[in-house]
């Protein structure tokens, strides 16, 4: 028997608000959550959801993951959680760096006041698996639980790995996603030093004027569930995670392989894993960072993987609306993808105006547009690529 994986709950904390609903509704409306060159979650107050003690034992990325997971579980299950044995529920949450604010604060204490000033909470606050651990502890989960670290591909890797865990029969449900809150002095300076971030503070993926990404923060968590079990309990199925493809450029620390060869392979693997052909793809949620290098190589990868039809498929970037959520991006964008497909609409690449030679796909400029393909489920591809050459691609139906 082939086990299949469906999405039965989604939760998000993003610069567009707390919740998956503001994320999709505001992006579809062409709005932006970016202010003053950053995609901050201004509406997020951890004490709205967590006790003081719980909040101070989590760095911001883990706090956001807890809130996103709570929303996803409430949509999927009931107040008692998900109706599976706790050891059959896992939790896999990716992050680029983990609790960087805590790391910087504790380093400052060490330098200014010495060893004795360093908090005993420093390690559990910083560790990259903290979000997965915190969510599992809050909900009493005992299945496969760990963090995934692959820079800006971490959220997508987490979802892909989680789907594999379910398919292999090791879990019936997995809370999977990504979380990042690293808008700190060191990270901001470091990305600027490598000229990765936009000096103008504008995220305009695929536009000729793009000059780097805009740092964002947030979290996205999905409830992934074995399809027959979800159907048997009468869960509302939002979409199906049909396929997953992962490759590595093995090329450069930060720059993508210019022709997008391995990124294209990841896309093709994801589509093939779904049992589909490139001609079946109706929509692409691009990685689309707004860096000169990514948007060019990603365009080439899409042409390689999707062939002649590449120019007909709407391709849009959530980062045009919320900035780059780094390790959370792949999960938040998977939510954006499934919700776009459910609405049968391709949200816009906000702010796209000027074409560049060779970047000639349909980037959905201006406003959302309908995805035209009959009445059946639509097929979407969500790309995530990370420093280190990591490529993780999800193929989703809804």
């Amino acid at each position: 028997m082939t086990r299949r994986v469906v999405i039965t709950g989604v939760g998000a904390v993003t610069p567009l608000g707390v919740g998956a609903e503001p994320l999709i509704e505001r992006w579809v409306a062409g709005e932006s959550g970016i202010e003053d060159g950053f995609g901050r979650c201004r509406e997020f107050d951890p004490l709205d959801f967590l006790s003081k003690k719980e909040a101070r034992r989590c760095d911001r990325f883990a706090q956001m993951a807890i809130v996103a997971a709570k929303e996803a579980i409430e949509q999927s299950g009931d107040e008692d959680g998900l109706p599976y044995e706790p050891h059959r529920i896992g939790c896999v949450i990716g992050t680029g760096i983990g609790g960087l604010p805590s790391f910087e604060e504790q380093t400052r204490k060490l330098i200014e006041r010495g060893e004795k000033a360093v908090s005993p909470l420093a390690v559990p606050l910083m560790m990259g698996n903290a979000a997965a651990a915190a969510v599992a502890m809050r909900h009493g989960l005992h299945g496969h639980t760990y963090g995934v670290v692959s820079a800006c591909a971490a959220g997508a890797h987490a979802l892909g790995d989680a789907s594999r865990i379910i398919r292999a029969g090791d879990a019936d449900a997995v809370l999977a996603g990504g979380a990042e809150a690293a808008i700190t002095g060191v990270a901001t300076a470091a990305f600027a030093a490598m000229e990765a971030t936009s000096p103008t503070g504008i995220s305009r993926p695929f536009d000729a004027r793009r000059d780097g990404f805009v740092m964002g923060e947030g979290a996205g968590v999905l409830v992934l569930e074995e399809k027959e079990a979800a159907q048997a309990r009468g869960a509302e199925i939002l979409g199906e995670l049909l396929g997953y493809g992962a490759t590595c450029d093995g090329f450069h620390l930060t720059a993508p392989q210019p022709e997008g060869i391995e990124a294209a392979r990841a896309i093709s693997l994801a589509v093939a894993d779904a049992g589909l052909a490139a001609t079946d793809v109706d929509y692409v949620n691009a990685h689309g960072t707004s860096t000169p290098l990514n948007d060019r190589s990603e365009t080439m990868a899409l042409k390689l993987a999707l062939g002649e039809r590449a120019g007909e498929i709407p391709v849009s970037s959530t980062k045009s609306s919320i900035g780059h959520l780094l390790g959370a991006a792949g999960a938040v964008e998977a939510i954006a993808t499934v919700e776009s497909l459910r609405r049968r609409v391709a949200p816009p690449t906000v702010g796209w105006e000027e074409a560049e030679e060779g970047l000639d796909l349909d980037y959905v400029p201006g406003a959302s547009k309908p995805i035209e393909n009959g009445e059946g489920p639509l097929i979407g591809v969500s790309n995530s690529f990370g420093f280190g050459g990591h490529n993780a691609v999800l193929c989703i139906a809804a």
Binding site: K53, E54, R57, P120, L121
Partner: protein, 82 residues
């Protein structure tokens, strides 16, 4: 200069410290058990840092491993200072 150790000054520091760590002030009393306040080993290490900053009294893990109530923590600090 460290604050002078008196039962009253230590109680105030311990109470304020526990509130800072997330305990409800209304629940605090000398008789309250650490378990009932959900105060665990990590909290005790943080509390020890607060005590040392305030009074210059060093508490180690071994010192607090058998402590059950808030009052016992206060008494321990006072006795260590003496």
């Amino acid at each position: 200069m460290p604050t002078q150790v008196t039962p009253e000054s230590v109680e105030k520091t311990i109470y304020d410290g526990l509130v800072e760590l997330g305990t409800e002030r209304d629940l605090l009393s000398r008789e309250a058990t650490l378990e009932s306040l959900d105060v665990d080993s990590l909290d005790l290490v943080e509390l020890a840092q607060i005590v040392e900053d305030e009074f210059g009294v060093e508490l180690r893990g071994d010192d607090v491993k058998d402590v059950k109530t808030v009052g016992e923590v206060i008494d321990l600090v006072v006795s260590k200072a003496g």
